[in-house]
Amino acid sequence: MSEAAERLQAFLQKTPYVQFLGMGAELAGDEMTAVLPFSPHLVGNPTIPAVHGGVLGAFLEMTAMAQLSVLQKLTRAPKTIDLTVEYLRPALSKTTYARAEVRKVGRRVANVHAEAWQETRASPVALLRCNFLLGPGEG
């Protein structure tokens, strides 16, 4: 297992909330795809049924953090400074995937964009823009 893959697995396995969502990730080289299998406890709207919007936002935020863990060794978990989620389509009772792109990593702040989709990558269900505080020190 590569060092990046080890860091990714460590992040996924040590974060209780990642386990709560049931989220996993696959790594091909340095390209990570996060996977959120459909599960009844994720449903926000039982009539459609659709995955809760908050869960999608949370999944995207965790995907962004996982991508940061792939990119570099983190001395501590990145702290979310702010995030914006845009909802494009309902996420139906299917597996949801996400990929994150790290736009900038500075000494203190990282900017990450992420995108979630289900069957068609070109038809995303939600988009994320996020800033994280890195490294030691007070938040």
Partner: protein
Amino acid sequence: MSDAADLPIDFIERMLQSPQCASLNLQLVSVGPARVAVRLPWREELAGDPDTGVIAGGAVTTLLDHVCGLAVGATSSEGTRSSTLDLRIDYMRAAAPRADVTGEAHCYRITHNIAFVRGQACDGDPADPIATAQGVFVLAPASAS
């Protein structure tokens, strides 16, 4: 002043019964005109960092998304359905370890199609929130006029 009988209490309670809400164990704190407060009880499973026991940002995101949607719901006596279009969250600080988090939201403007909402999440003092939220919701077609 609005009569409590005008508030869609049953609607709000039904909206808190979705599987994700039940699995987070979200508890209704209060309902007012276009205002709702909900508590997310802390538990180990929701921690973002097992070393500190601080609740995951993702759980707070779901709480804020949901309470903002409920505030839209509380704008009419029969309850208004909506979907999140855009949600922005600023995290001021980490929650206290093992602390319950309360989310509150106010729908301050509603048009035929769109609702604008502000919210915040606190682990104690409402004057010292852990996060603030700004959301835009699109009303369900049946609710739009």
